[in-house]
């Protein structure tokens, strides 16, 4: 019998978890999530087609609405079209399902395996969300480009916004947006901690998402008080913040303020994730699905 104390040299490092190991495993897991998503070609194609219809519907509706009211100057019809082209894109790229994934992980026993492996489960959930976001981003970017090319004057409208904002503002806004989206969806998954019970928190999330994100109406049309309240929710950062930034509708001072507030919201949401994880894992351990 071979003695365990004389096995391969790599075993010497068993008692500690090296950060390089976590980084390597995270990168590999992240790329594998993208690979897995790309295997479902027909689902992805259907998703793109559905999103294209949503783009067209939103843009046509709001263009008509703005054009029928020539007295308002807050949004020109062209600005509204741009807003919804960008909002649809940001909505689409965050269309992943990490909340339900956590539920299915529990049902299928994946969580059992995950929590007895030296690789943090919540990191996996986060990586999976980001991987899906990027996958959908790559798929939907051509739709956005087509919309901008097809609608006369839209590319100039976009360029107008770009000329106002410093180039680094949008990457910050989109990273805050993606992180807010990932964390809030993980919160939903952890609130239920079970796929069959996720619909309740998910419905609540959808209601808040529609009211506070700016996905179905331009978020800065909200009265000031409601807008200030929305800016303390993760939903605002999912769509409204990056879109308004890209359109140059937020001044530099406002951007710094919103970005700082966004970071506070992210920290608060992370704390909620940690609390819910501890609560959920206790519940999971009590029944041991």
């Amino acid at each position: 019998m071979r003695s365990h104390s004389h096995r391969d040299p790599w075993e010497l490092s068993r008692s500690s978890v090296a950060w390089t190991t976590v980084v390597n495993a995270s990168w590999l897991y992240f790329t594998q999530c993208i690979q897995a998503a790309l295997l479902y070609r027909s689902s992805l194609a259907l998703f793109v087609v559905t999103e294209a219809f949503a783009y067209a519907g939103f843009i046509a509706f709001w263009y008509k609405a703005a054009a029928s009211n020539p007295n308002q100057t807050f949004y020109t019809p062209l600005a509204l079209v741009l807003y919804f082209a960008l909002a649809s894109f940001h909505h689409g790229i965050q269309h992943h399902t990490s909340s339900r994934d956590i539920g299915s992980d529990i049902r299928l026993g994946k969580l059992s395996y995950a929590i007895i492996r030296p690789f943090p489960y919540l990191l996996q959930a986060l990586l999976r969300s980001i991987a899906f976001t990027i996958t959908y981003g790559v798929l939907l970017l051509p739709l956005l480009v087509i919309a901008v090319k097809l609608v006369p004057g839209l590319s100039q409208e976009l360029a107008k916004g770009w000329s106002i904002i410093p180039w680094w503002q949008y990457p910050i806004a989109i990273v805050i947006g993606i992180m807010a989206s990932c964390l809030i969806r993980i919160v939903i998954g952890l609130l239920a901690f079970d796929m069959s019970q996720v619909w309740g928190p998910d419905t609540l999330f959808i209601a808040l998402y529609y009211s506070a994100s700016g996905v179905i109406f331009p978020i800065d049309l909200l009265p000031a008080t409601l807008l200030a309240a929305a800016q303390w929710t993760p939903m605002y950062y999912m769509v409204g913040f990056p879109v308004l930034t890209l359109m140059g509708r937020i001044s530099n001072t406002e951007f710094n303020e919103h970005a700082s507030r966004g970071l506070i919201v992210l920290l608060a949401t992370s704390a909620i994730v940690a609390i819910l994880w501890r609560r959920g894992i206790k519940r999971f351990e009590a029944i041991g699905i």
Binding site: H4, W10, T21, Y29, Q32, L39, E285, A286
Partner: protein, 350 residues
């Protein structure tokens, strides 16, 4: 004394769940008021497992095997008592150093990514456990060869058969060379050949690398071929802890009679004779009609028993009579049917 892989002291686990009355009214009632009940899944267990042992954890459905296995891995914490691994780890806290030394396979759960080929899950395990290329490649090659599934390495897991998938699951579980391997019904639903290959693989893994293996299974073949020690659990308690050979002696020491009589009066006479035998003859099946009577007697008394029965009812009253060795299944069934603690069947262990 061997070093211990697992030491369990006064372990208990109680679940809370709720009852719901049948039907729609029950659902409405349960929506507002729930009657919580506590179910003791494991009741005060204490035993230890030495390094390198191959243990069979047996028991009927709901006996507490999987709960026990989950507490040993650290998946669920005990209600009271402790599980200490390798003399230093409290498993309920799931210390990373412990997790790196264990592996687990659950026959009805998947660890492999279903959409990707198994090689991707293997590579991820290599990255998670920090396994260098050389030992990783060597162990993977050996395992694939042993299972004869080299050609399936690059096929998405969801396209593999159940047997192939389970083989891949086992390979995944041992790639990081765990010192302790937990297997929860790994051969469930597999055909004869696949189950046999898995048994060979486990025997070889245990023999060659000295991995401690704890196996739950309902298949006697798994236990007979692999486990030198078995722990029988019923209603959350250990009802037998000893060698399989010890059980085998009990089995081999008895013969099972099956008798069919031609009439009711002969049947009754035999039943009365069994009742008056003062435990020398043990009923193994409760039969109230004249269709058949099953009982076990000491193998030394087979001739004497046949003679007594013929004298009692005469040879023409017997329609059919068979005498067989008792199978392990029969013995397990008999032990399971006893109330835990009512009869001590534990074998003294060192």
């Amino acid at each position: 004394m061997n070093e211990l892989a697992i030491n369990i002291q006064n372990l208990e686990k109680t679940y809370s769940t709720f009852k719901k009355d049948a039907g729609f009214s029950g659902a409405i009632k349960s929506f507002f008021v729930r009657q919580t009940i506590r179910i003791p899944a494991v009741k005060t267990m204490s035993f230890s497992i030495a390094k390198g042992e191959f243990i069979g954890l047996l028991g009927p459905n709901g006996a507490g095997k999987t709960t026990l296995l989950k507490m040993m891995t650290g998946l669920i914490p005990p209600s009271s008592g402790s599980v200490t691994a390798f003399g230093q780890f409290d498993t309920s806290t799931r210390p990373p150093a412990y997790l790196r030394r264990i592996g687990m396979v659950m026959g009805q759960r998947n660890q492999l990514h279903p959409d990707l080929p198994a090689i991707d899950s293997f590579k991820l395990a290599q990255a998670i456990y920090g396994i260098p290329d050389e030992p990783f490649e060597r162990r993977l090659k050996q395992s694939l060869h042993l299972f004869e599934i080299e050609s399936k390495l690059n096929i998405p897991v969801r396209k593999l058969s159940l047997g192939e998938r389970m083989k891949m699951e086992l390979i995944l579980a041992i790639l990081h060379e765990p010192e302790l391997l937990f297997l929860d019904e790994p051969t469930i639903g597999l055909d004869f050949n696949a189950a046999k290959q898995i048994r060979n693989f486990l025997a070889e893994t245990n023999r060659q690398f000295g991995i401690t293996i704890i196996l739950t299974s309902h298949y006697i073949k798994d236990i007979e071929e692999l486990c030198k020690r078995v722990i029988l659990i019923n209603e959350g308690e250990v009802v037998y802890d000893g060698s399989l050979a010890g059980l085998d002696v009990r089995v081999q020491g008895e013969r099972l009679f099956n008798i069919e009589t031609v009439d009711e009066s002969s049947h009754s006479k035999i039943m009365q004779w069994i009742a008056s035998s003062e435990g020398q003859v043990k009923m193994t099946q409760d039969v109230s009609s004249n269709e058949g009577i099953s009982f076990a007697v000491n193998s030394q008394k087979v001739g004497e028993t046949v003679k007594e029965i013929f004298q009692l009812v005469g040879p023409h009253a017997i329609r059919d009579m068979t005498i067989n060795e008792r199978s392990l299944e029969d013995v397990f069934a008999e032990i399971y049917s006893r109330r835990p603690g009512a009869t001590s069947v534990s074998e003294e262990r060192d």
